[in-house]
Symmetry: C2
């Protein structure tokens, strides 16, 4: 710490000339960039060059940004501009004075390098890395290297506990007065597997307290938060969440707005770019959110299948052992439930399309996908038993009754109303069927190709984009029969997705 302070002092002590903020309106998404004139006094005095990492301060707020150089006429030597994300984070207004100094040398980078070289990290080292990540001090290449260095079992259980704790410490923590605070989570990897909103509605109708916070998609076409956002407001503050749970006993919100384990959200952004999700990261990501959310009893749905995230039972056993070890370290009760991950669940894949399936199940319409209904009832039943709200062996029946009676649908409406009102999800303008090239029987569906096709169509960024499955494994199909329909909001995305689908057939059909 002392070294960092010294360096900052050195940077500031040089009497950097004041720079004035000039908005240029450059949107770099989540990467913070500062734009300076190459001949500005700060660049000259401090020796900054393009791509340097610098500390930027406006008033009391500061962040680390990447430096890009911009000459006249866009910027004068006394001006500085910021990318949209940086301007927003610093609440910059035209004319504000911008102070710049060298980014502090990050001591945690030694720990990062040690991990890349296969060494074990202690709690303090992991804390230092996670603390720098949460504070936005790591460029993406560091985060990417950290994730790769920790993948494939290169983090042991003790490190995973330390990582989880560091992630909890990186943000806020909720606490509840109830002895049992239930939660339900799915490790993911199965397109369309959107049981959470249904399970929460049933379990809450059955009397459980369930302040559910969800994340957005990591590598999938939709996360529960993305799907719920097409139905209601999900970005609630902690006070609003507390109010909702006090009123209706449960919630279905996005965790990102609550600052629970914020390091996780940053890690997830880079994981999404890499399309990876390792055991240790998965355990720490899930459990840090649960510890921070104040949950006590957590049901974890693990779909197992050759193209799901968890491919074999032995992978499940390894994951369950890691999950139990870390949960135990924090006094959490967990119940892992193995489910069938051989093909997508429900019909819709993508935020709005999945939301329609959920509404159909809760409203008990003929459009309700039977597999989504069955799995939701089974999981809700298991959760009711696990939390003592139903006798052993009687959970599934109780859950079915709560759904069939309309109690779950009423609870779901109450949750959405409490969060800001229930709305109808939109529909895509552009649609195209992908058809069977020949007649035969569907023998397999590749979840990864299905997910990728949905993502290329625009999911989850475009709420209405994704796929609508038209067949399931063991179905008989004719040549030319639709296998799935691609939904998109832009014609380019429709073409892109369909081109991929044609080049990578996701539905295997065995001719007769």
């Amino acid at each position: 710490m002392q070294a960092n302070e010294l360096k900052l002092a050195a940077g500031e002590g040089q009497g950097s000339e004041p720079l004035i903020f000039k908005p240029l309106g450059i949107d770099t998404w989540q990467e913070h960039v500062i734009y300076l004139h190459p001949d500005c006094p700060v660049c000259r005095a401090e020796g900054f060059t393009a791509q340097a990492r610098v500390q930027v301060r406006i008033g009391e707020a500061s962040l680390i940004a990447t430096l890009n150089l911009v000459g006249a006429p866009l910027l004068d030597t006394g001006e500085a501009s910021l990318s949209a994300s940086a301007a927003q984070a610093l609440e910059a207004r035209a004319g504000d004075v911008v102070a710049i100094s060298h980014a502090p040398a990050l001591e945690s980078v030694r720990a990062l390098r040690a991990k890349i070289y296969g060494r074990r990290l202690d709690g303090a080292q992991i804390d230092s890395i996670i603390s720098d990540i949460s504070a936005g001090r790591y460029p993406d290449v560091y985060i990417s290297a950290f994730l790769a260095a920790c993948a494939d079992g290169r983090m042991n259980r003790r490190e995973t506990v330390d990582l989880t704790r560091a992630m909890v410490h990186s943000g806020e923590r909720l606490s509840w007065s109830h002895a049992v605070v239930a939660d339900k989570h799915c490790v993911g990897g199965l397109p369309g597997n959107r049981t959470t909103p249904i399970v929460v509605a049933i379990a809450a109708a059955g009397g459980l307290v369930l302040p559910k916070t969800s994340s957005r998609a990591i590598t999938s076409p939709a996360g529960t938060a993305d799907t719920m956002e097409t139905l209601t407001r999900v970005a609630l503050s902690a006070a609003e969440l507390r109010h909702v749970v006090e009123r209706v006993g449960a919630s279905l919100v996005w965790g990102g707005a609550l600052n629970l384990s914020p390091a996780d959200d940053i890690l997830i952004r880079v994981e999404r770019a890499l399309d990876i999700d390792s055991d240790a990261q998965l355990v720490a990501s899930i459990l840090s959110k649960k510890v921070a959310a104040g949950s006590t009893h957590i049901l974890i749905d693990v779909p197992v299948g050759p193209t799901a995230k968890v491919r074999e039972d032995r992978d499940l056993e390894r994951l369950e052992a890691a999950m139990r070890h870390v949960a135990g370290a924090f006094g959490l009760h967990i119940l892992m439930v193995r489910t069938d991950g051989t093909q997508p669940l429900g019909r819709g894949i993508g935020p709005a399309l999945e939301a329609r399936d959920i509404l159909a199940v809760l409203q008990r319409t003929v459009a309700a996908p039977p597999d989504l209904r069955e799995r939701s009832v089974m999981l809700a039943g298991a959760l009711l038993e696990f939390c003592g709200a139903a006798p052993r062996g009687a959970g599934e029946k109780a859950a079915g009754q709560l759904l069939d009676s309309g109690a779950a649908w009423r609870k779901f409406q109450a949750i959405c109303e409490a969060q800001g009102g229930l709305r109808v999800p939109g529909e895509a303008i552009f649609r195209r069927d992908i058809v069977a090239p020949h007649a035969g029987k569907v023998i397999a569906i590749d979840n990864r190709h299905i997910a990728r096709t949905a993502k290329l169509a625009g999911a989850p960024m475009r709420q209405v984009a994704g796929l609508e499955m038209r067949v399931r494994v063991n179905d008989e199909v004719r040549a030319g029969q639709p296998l799935f329909t691609v939904h998109a909001q832009a014609s380019g995305e429709l073409d892109y997705s369909c081109s991929y689908a044609l080049a990578h057939p996701a539905v295997s059909i065995e001719p007769h």
Copy 2:
């Protein structure tokens, strides 16, 4: 390949409106960025969002760039701008028509993920990754994850051979008519260890053919190319290099301009950001350059010391075994020489300061650092013997005579003249001594702290920046006596470097 073509066709088939290039002069260093208006027809039709990776084409030239969005007044909906590096690579001029499509989905990313998950890669998979990296199709987060996934022995020898071959195939190859084409390399990690120019001058004076190509610094304050650039022109074309070697028998050029193993240069840029350098990468990096340069006999200097890159003899043995295996696969003869890596060599650390030491040794002035002279003569002698230009056991004596007679200095001058003329390196404006806090004996010097201090002073980007060592291990010092002098071109950099030096003492002094 078919899938990629399909996708590109899909992107182009949508009749993207022509966009006109408007220079904005934004310098993002080596990262390619394209700037578009958020409402431009291409963004709307293709569904592009900020940070998407897109394929950009002007005429026949194309590259992959990251998309940033910029609104009016900087850009209209029919305009596109490019970062300085992208504009240069595409030779863009104001008014050029810019065509944009979705970046092809990269099949090699499957191989990258497999490696992150600890799987072995075959030659085709490694080729696909290196080919995408060379073509600029990987964002930095992918490269970073690849490097981290391959570090710490997670690449075996067969993979290292395949990596080396893929890197050679990524660029040009030189060939020479001589049976013996000598080369000299240092694995690095020892600040100031700039023996290469002296060894090349001696060995060439002794009759060896030595078309030496060097890289710039990876994680050190200077690479041989950085140092030579303060003395002469180093960015020669292949034809110019051939002309120089035909005329004077040797060269001291930067390899980067020759397109030898260009993937290596991209990997090195990200390695530099991460400050890592793994065995497999090190072997593939060194040997791919040598194979591409057409060398047959290579002396590799390996400094070993507790704070050098290679810390212990067993690390050297492991590296040597990997190096021999890969060299054997390409028919290269290598001689690894272990040298003392316990403290910096010579006095100067940083491009211009090291160049001054080199001139002093070659010119045999009183300022010549004895340790740099001795080590250079030893290595040149070993190379002369290894290549059959001196009898066994007589190499060092022959090398000493070539230096003392002025033959090596004349050869060095001839090389520099052939490359474009010998010039005098510059000097820094800002200097400050770091002094002994108390009297005693110097018992150790930390190469890493020394290197970091020199880098914070601006080396290697600022040629004149770096350190001048004023003591060596075992020296007796008084309180207040200078241990080293920091040289910088900007006062901010001088302060920054000195602050670090004070917080991280590099010279350990044992009081009496």
